[in-house]
């Protein structure tokens, strides 16, 4: 029967949090190496989001963000969303390109767009690899896709995916910062409904 995300125990929620720790910890290390800059990760949060509030989870539904969508399949399947606000995006590009930039989020050129996609690609790979070495579950991820638009419209994509099964969506949220609040990006892992029990089983104590 379909997995019910609304009746998760505290232990289950902790397991999902642990997934965030393992995966995003590794993704943060990759980002840090790429930028040659210290990147901190906050304690991951596991969020069960109602449909009607989903568009507001990182602030306003109309906030302009860069969103990268990646999906993965294999022993586990699901979606990754990597979101950056306008300030973080230009700071990230500055560090990547090694030059001052006043790029506005709405007018990225092809090279800048590719750079952001590559960052998401590397981080998604690190996240899944860490998860895989910890649980033994393997997955491959898709080529990332970028969209620059309202946060709500972007966040609704995985919520619709979940919507076919239930009224809540499980987001494992990790926030990565450079400690100065100049770079503030969100990395969301949204495990597919059939993947949730597989992950929980793999993280059972003593196995």
């Amino acid at each position: 029967m379909s997995f019910d995300v609304e009746n998760l125990s505290v232990i289950d929620l902790d397991k999902f949090k642990e997934i965030g720790n393992i995966g995003a910890g590794n993704a943060a290390t990759s980002l840090s190496k790429l930028l040659n800059k210290r990147i901190n990760m906050n304690v991951p949060e596991v969020k069960l989001i109602n449909l009607e509030n989903a568009v507001d989870i990182i602030g306003g539904a109309e906030t302009l963000v860069a969103g990268v969508y990646v999906d993965f399949k294999g022993d586990i399947q699901g979606t990754i969303l990597y979101l950056l606000d306008s300030t973080s995006l230009s700071k990230l590009l500055e560090l990547l390109m090694n030059k001052e930039t006043d790029t506005q989020i709405s007018e990225l050129n092809d090279i800048e767009a590719s750079a952001i996609i590559e960052v998401a690609n590397i981080m998604s790979g690190s996240y899944l690899m860490a998860l895989s070495s910890f649980t033994g579950l393997k997955a491959v991820h898709s080529v990332p896709n970028l969209s620059i638009d309202m946060a709500g419209a972007i966040l609704s994509v995985p919520v619709i995916e979940y919507g076919a099964y239930g009224d809540k969506t499980l987001f494992i949220e990790s926030q990565l910062t450079d400690g100065t609040e100049q770079i503030n990006n969100y990395f969301f892992l949204i495990p597919g409904i059939t993947t949730c029990p597989v992950l929980l089983k793999a993280l059972e104590v003593g196995t």
Binding site: L51, S156, G163
Partner: protein, 163 residues
């Protein structure tokens, strides 16, 4: 100051007396607005998926185009609208991410199927669509005014519109 009411995903609201319905950050979802211009009653449902699988346990009818629109019509009539006068305006149904390289093409392209299901359901219920702003690869925010029946549409990087 006219009062505004927000309509999130899988929500339905009906207003009158100059009030305004608002939906923000609409991606592949479709907002269906129904209007009775004589009673000046405006209703909106914010659907996410095309058709309800009635066999499944206890689905939320407002998530789906077919059941959501049927519920909207029912509640509009309850609120005093004349079913024969109802006209529809619809917006949304975008594809936010290219599905070219994705494993999940069906979900990424759900906007088109949502629009199709909305058009079909309205047609089956004999309700005319008098304006439509759908498709594309960008998000939309809308305001639907119950005094005029006008829908205002905002986007990022595209022209604002009134339909």
């Amino acid at each position: 100051m006219k009062s505004t009411t927000r309509v999130g995903m899988a929500e339905l609201r009906i207003v009158k007396n100059n009030e305004i319905l608002v939906s923000m950050g609409i991606g592949s979802c479709v907002v269906v607005a129904l209007y009775d211009g004589v009673e000046k009653i405006a209703g909106l449902v914010h659907i996410m998926l095309p058709y309800c699988n009635r066999a499944r346990d206890n689905p939320n009818p407002l998530k789906f185009a077919d059941t959501g629109i049927e519920e909207l019509i029912r509640q509009m009539v309850d609120a005093g609208a004349d079913r024969r006068r109802l006209v529809a305006k619809i917006a949304g149904g975008a594809q936010m991410f290219s599905s070219l390289n994705s494993f999940n093409k069906e979900i990424l392209a759900i906007g088109d199927r949502n629009v199709e299901a909305v058009i079909r359901t309205l047609d089956e219920n004999g309700i005319r669509i008098i304006a439509q702003e759908t498709g594309g690869n960008f998000g939309r925010s809308i305001e639907f005014h119950s005094d005029s029946g006008i829908m205002f549409i905002r986007t990022v990087g595209h022209e604002s519109k009134q339909i």
